[in-house]
């Protein structure tokens, strides 16, 4: 995640010094003040078969300002993707995450890059949280060479193996057993790390999820299953799809925790708790109560199965970025203007990345035939007219 501590700043008040370098760089200094601040989460946690973590969270100015910046960046990125899709620069599927930023940001704050994350197709922000760049996102969405999958994956197939981010999966529910497999491998290699396997309330009813959970519990795998419950599986409300929408309890013999997914500090607290639990006791489920402002994908207006009042209501009452803004202002950690300036900065970063991505070339035709195998053995592959287009797989 892009952090920009340019100078050390003491606890803030009116006489915060602007550094020389801030005049040169685009970035405003984020306060590096790490004086602990104690905050309560919005609601207490609810648990199933385990003890409840405290709703009192330790944080500091630096962390809160970083959260604000990261979530604002993600928000801006997703809204920009919406425009690009409508301009037909992004094709196919595009599933946007705006509203759910606190889950990606809070989770990342609780773990290291040694821990693994795997998710489904609503993966743009998770990729950014794991260290991906805006250019890689926009170039991939537009099918260009600089994309994280060199343009060959698309919106649903972002990966960043060097940060243990395993995608990016289009088949609902498939990522959950895959994630439990990652956890198995971490335990097998004695890495002392955990895997977060994210899925939605729609995927929560998949059979393979329960098969994977059964095996994870039998083998004590350090797997944390995170249900991002945005209350709608495509166009179907949770109460129409699940007999029991208490997803944190669906593990039965596997403990679970229900978390306000719009509160980044609650997410961080829960993920810290879950990591400790999973390393000692095996799998645990986290249900993140969250919300997506967009429809399921860009082909879904998102308003035929829910009211506009509901959407605006959540935006007013529970928006994750606004919550952190209020927290920062109420603790006097930054001024309103400084926060607005941060938002302007991230907007510019996003715009610059889009401009760069637009200039980036499409993949070379030869890329049609690369990476079919890790070891192609020199065999032949064919294009549509096999007498015209043949290639040897490297």
């Amino acid at each position: 995640m892009a952090l920009s501590q340019l100078l050390s700043s003491s606890s803030r008040s009116g006489n915060r010094l602007k550094s020389l370098s801030s005049a040169i760089s685009l970035r405003h200094p984020i306060s590096t003040d790490t004086t602990p601040i104690t905050v309560e989460t919005s609601v207490p946690f609810t648990s199933h078969q385990c003890e409840v973590p405290s709703r009192t969270v330790q944080t500091n100015a630096k962390e809160l300002l970083t959260f604000f910046r990261d979530m604002a960046l993600m928000r801006r990125m997703e809204i920009a993707a919406d425009s690009l899709y409508k301009a037909k620069l992004i094709r196919g599927f595009c599933h946007l995450y705006d509203g759910q930023e606190a889950v990606a940001v809070g989770m990342e704050a609780a773990i290291t890059k040694k821990d693994s994350i795997i998710t489904a197709y609503r993966d743009h922000c998770t990729f950014i949280a794991r260290g991906g760049t805006l250019l890689e996102v926009f170039a991939e969405l537009m099918g260009r060479q600089a994309g994280c999958s060199r343009g060959k994956g698309g919106s649903m197939h972002f990966y960043k193996k060097d940060s243990n981010f395993y995608g990016g999966h289009g088949i609902v529910g498939a990522q959950v057993p895959l994630g439990c497999g990652l956890a198995f491998a971490q335990k097998y290699c004695k890495d002392e790390a955990v895997t977060f396997a994210l899925y939605g309330d729609g995927a929560a009813n998949q059979g393979q999820l329960f098969e994977a959970l059964n095996i994870s519990a039998l083998w004590d795998l350090p797997a944390i299953l995170v249900c991002e419950n945005n209350h709608y599986g495509m166009g179907t409300a949770e109460w129409r799809a699940a007999k029991s929408p208490a997803y944190y309890k669906r593990g039965d013999y596997v403990p679970g925790l229900k978390v306000d997914g719009m509160d980044v500090l609650a997410v961080k607290q829960a993920c810290t708790f879950a990591k400790e639990h999973a390393l000692k006791n095996g799998p645990i489920i986290l249900e993140m109560d969250t919300y997506r402002y967009h429809g399921h994908s860009m082909s879904d207006p998102g308003s035929t199965y829910r009211t506009r009042d509901e959407i605006t209501g959540v935006r007013q009452e529970r928006d994750p970025v606004e919550r952190i803004r209020k927290l920062i202002l109420s603790h006097d950690l930054a001024t309103e203007k400084e926060l607005k300036d941060t938002e302007k900065e991230v907007r510019k970063e996003v715009d610059d990345a889009i401009a760069q991505a637009k200039e980036n070339p499409v993949p070379d035709s030869s890329e049609l035939f690369t990476n079919v195998y890790a070891k192609g053995l020199g065999v032949e592959s064919f294009g549509a007219d096999r007498k015209e287009v043949r290639a040897t797989l490297p």
Binding site: S116, I118, C148, S149, R150, K152, G153, H157, Y159, K160, K161, Y166, G167, G168, H169, G170, I171, A174, V176, P177, L178, G179, C180, G181, L182, A183, F184, A185, Q186, Y188, C189, G207, Q208, F210, E211, A212, N214, I215, L218, W219, T370, N371, V372, Y373, A374, K375, L377, V379, E380, S381, R386, K387
Partner: protein, 367 residues
């Protein structure tokens, strides 16, 4: 493990397949015999010994010693960390195994038969085969899916399907199918060492069959190349291309044809994907006639692909239409007489080969 004594077959089979002494094979003094079961077991043992990332996952592998005893003794030798018995939940444990491969481990997953792989096929195709491509090379998947494939004896429609064509359809997968013990050892070792997902199609009725093998094959470094077919029997009048159990039938057919002066060349495909098009075409350019043999359903099958490829590349060399011998285009019946009609028999291969040589016996239909 290197049994010189021939093992008794555990399962009933309709036909006892005699191991065929290939015309070409030269035996070192005191040639050893090895069953396909022993070949697979020794290959697994050696690869697990050589690389701690290799481990086994599947139903009944450990404490039961393997449903077909392929993994016998491996739990005792390597422990429960590396020989994992799973619940009967293919979708779940296949997804878990693919995730393990994403992280860099090398799972060898057993399907009790490939009929059950259909419960997990999304993970084989969408999670395993396509990942390296979709991630532009970041996520390779060094997994082997192995198990018995195709017809056994009397097990009925849901337990008898051959999946070679289904899996060979997909770019990103490699599909192998051994015939004899040398194939079994060499190809399984190659599959385990390969960094891509490999579907390894065995045959239940061949597990107990014993074949002679040379000392070279017994070496722990022995490995066969993926993508290369083998000429099991050299000939000059007709090419018979087959895989798995049908190679044995084709060799028997070749002996019968020999008596009528037809010298058949039998090609053991070994690798269904990549298909060794050049060996097949070289053979047909020499013999000018082709018969493909498979146990699977005929439509859109491996034989169809071979015929198409020969027509495309060697059309002017063909002196007769290509012939396909395949399983009957019906779900596998149970009654013994119907089952016999549902799979190719040696006489079917002989008849087709004679047709390509314009030496067929007239049947009731006017030809």
């Amino acid at each position: 493990m290197l049994g010189i004594v021939r093992q008794k077959m555990l399962e009933q089979s309709l036909k006892k397949i005699q191991p065929v002494a290939s015309v070409l094979r030269t035996y070192s003094s005191g040639a050893k015999q090895m069953t396909v079961r022993e070949a697979l077991n020794s290959a697994l043992d050696e690869e697990m010994s050589a690389d701690s990332k290799v481990f086994l996952i599947g139903e009944e592998l450990g404490e039961y010693q393997g449903a077909y005893k392929i993994t016998k003794g491996l739990l005792d030798k390597y422990g429960p960390e590396r020989v994992r018995d799973t619940p009967i939940t293919e979708a779940g444990f296949t997804g878990i195994a693919v995730g393990e491969a994403y992280y860099g481990l090398k799972p060898v997953l057993e399907f009790m038969t490939f009929n059950f792989s259909m419960q997990a096929i999304d993970h084989i195709i969408n999670s395993a085969a396509k990942s390296n491509y979709m991630s532009a090379g970041q996520i390779s998947v060094p997994i082997v899916f192995r198990g018995p494939n195709g017809a056994a004896a009397g097990v009925g429609a849901q337990h008898s399907q051959c999946y070679a064509a289904w899996y060979a359809f997909c770019p990103g997968l490699k599909v192998l199918s051994p015939y004899n013990s040398e194939d079994a050892r060499g190809l399984l070792k190659a599959a385990i060492r390969d960094p891509d997902p490999v579907v390894f199609l065995e045959n239940e009725l061949l597990y107990g069959e014993s074949f002679p093998i040379s000392d070279g094959v017994l070496d722990s470094s022995f490995c066969l190349p993926i993508g290369k077919a083998k000429i099991e029997r050299k000939g000059k009048h007709v090419t018979i291309a087959a895989y798995s159990k049908m190679v044995g039938y084709s060799l028997k057919a070749a002996e019968i044809l020999e008596k009528d002066g037809i010298h058949a060349e039998v090609v053991n495909l070994r690798s269904i994907r990549p298909l060794d098009r050049s060996t097949i075409n070289d053979s047909v350019r020499k013999t000018n006639r082709l018969v493909t043999v498979e146990e699977a359903f005929p439509q859109h099958g491996v034989g169809a692909e071979i015929c198409a490829c020969v027509l495309e590349e060697s059309f002017s060399y063909l002196d007769a239409p290509v012939e396909r011998i395949a399983g009957a285009d019906v779900p596998m019946p149970y009654a013994a007489n119907l089952e016999r009609m549902a799979v190719p028999q040696v006489e079917d291969i002989v008849r087709a080969a004679k047709r390509t040589c314009y030496r067929s016996v007239l049947t009731a239909a006017v030809s």
